[in-house]
Symmetry: C2
Subunit: 201 residues, 2 copies
Amino acid sequence: MKILFSPTSPYVRKCLVSAHELGVIGRVQLLPSNAHPINRDREIIANNPLGKVPTFFTDDGLVLYDSRVICEYLDTTAGGTLFPRSGAARWQALTMQSLGDGMLDAALLARYEDVTRPEAQRWPEWRAGQLDKVQTSLQHLQAHPALLGSQADIGTIAVGCALWYLDLRFAELGWREQYPAVAAWYAGFSQRPSMAASWSL
Amino acid sequence: MKILFSPTSPYVRKCLVSAHELGVIGRVQLLPSNAHPINRDREIIANNPLGKVPTFFTDDGLVLYDSRVICEYLDTTAGGTLFPRSGAARWQALTMQSLGDGMLDAALLARYEDVTRPEAQRWPEWRAGQLDKVQTSLQHLQAHPALLGSQADIGTIAVGCALWYLDLRFAELGWREQYPAVAAWYAGFSQRPSMAASWSL
């Protein structure tokens, strides 16, 4: 198995953390890539017309994207339990994944506003609106700490990767002070070997 | 079942087309909402902290988002076949959904650039990069027309809703002239009663 890789992509990280939890990380080869929203990487596009990472190659020739599809494929292939198979547990885990991914989508748009867009074309209200999505999501988790159990599943992995990305790019938010229940959960979850691992080419 | 609704949201439309295909559209009540990336709708946030539509309420009290989760829930609840259960068919349909959703994500960001952002803060390269994602995706479908079968599944529904949105917001792209194989497919697919239906509160 192979994955088009970027060390700072939180969606690539979701896939690698999942592979690590499933015990198959050693079977996933990392391939270099240069995804960018303006200067689009034509080598990625040749395999994934959206030009995004992660893009994933199975051993039997399928090309899969995006991170949700790749993570479920890894779980199925490894016979894992990251995706509950049915019932309320499945819908709750998938919705928690949507929450984590939604926090990341918003944080990434704020990041593009901060560093990719020329300064004269930045719109503070857009950045504030995106980061408000992160804040209301953290408020929700703080108010319902039971939503985040100690188990690794696709929901907790997605939220864990979102918090990892906030630390990487928005340390100034100081989210731990405002959301102590979320901070307490992450203090434990981030100690998992899968989350503590670092990857580079 | 209830869904927070906007008539021009392509992700809401994905859910309603799916419900129509599954024969359960009459059981889904539409609720008004005013999702916006800057002036965030606090009534949506009370149920979905990301403040986005679609947000969905099951009859037994679960709140689900986003469209991928809602569509799979509808398919499972109705005993449908929009999501192949296993094997390569599942990964291919899910990846096609990612492609359709990715086209929509890009088109929506171009739309926000065009109408939400103040004119002085618009960045033409950003808009061009997003619409280039749409173009390379259409090129991919044009080059591999067998990817789009005549069946309604979550992949074809997602791509169909993406093309619907291009017609709604980016008619000037003239995508049918450039991508005749995609146009031929959509000419048939858009005739399905689910796709031809219109919804309003």
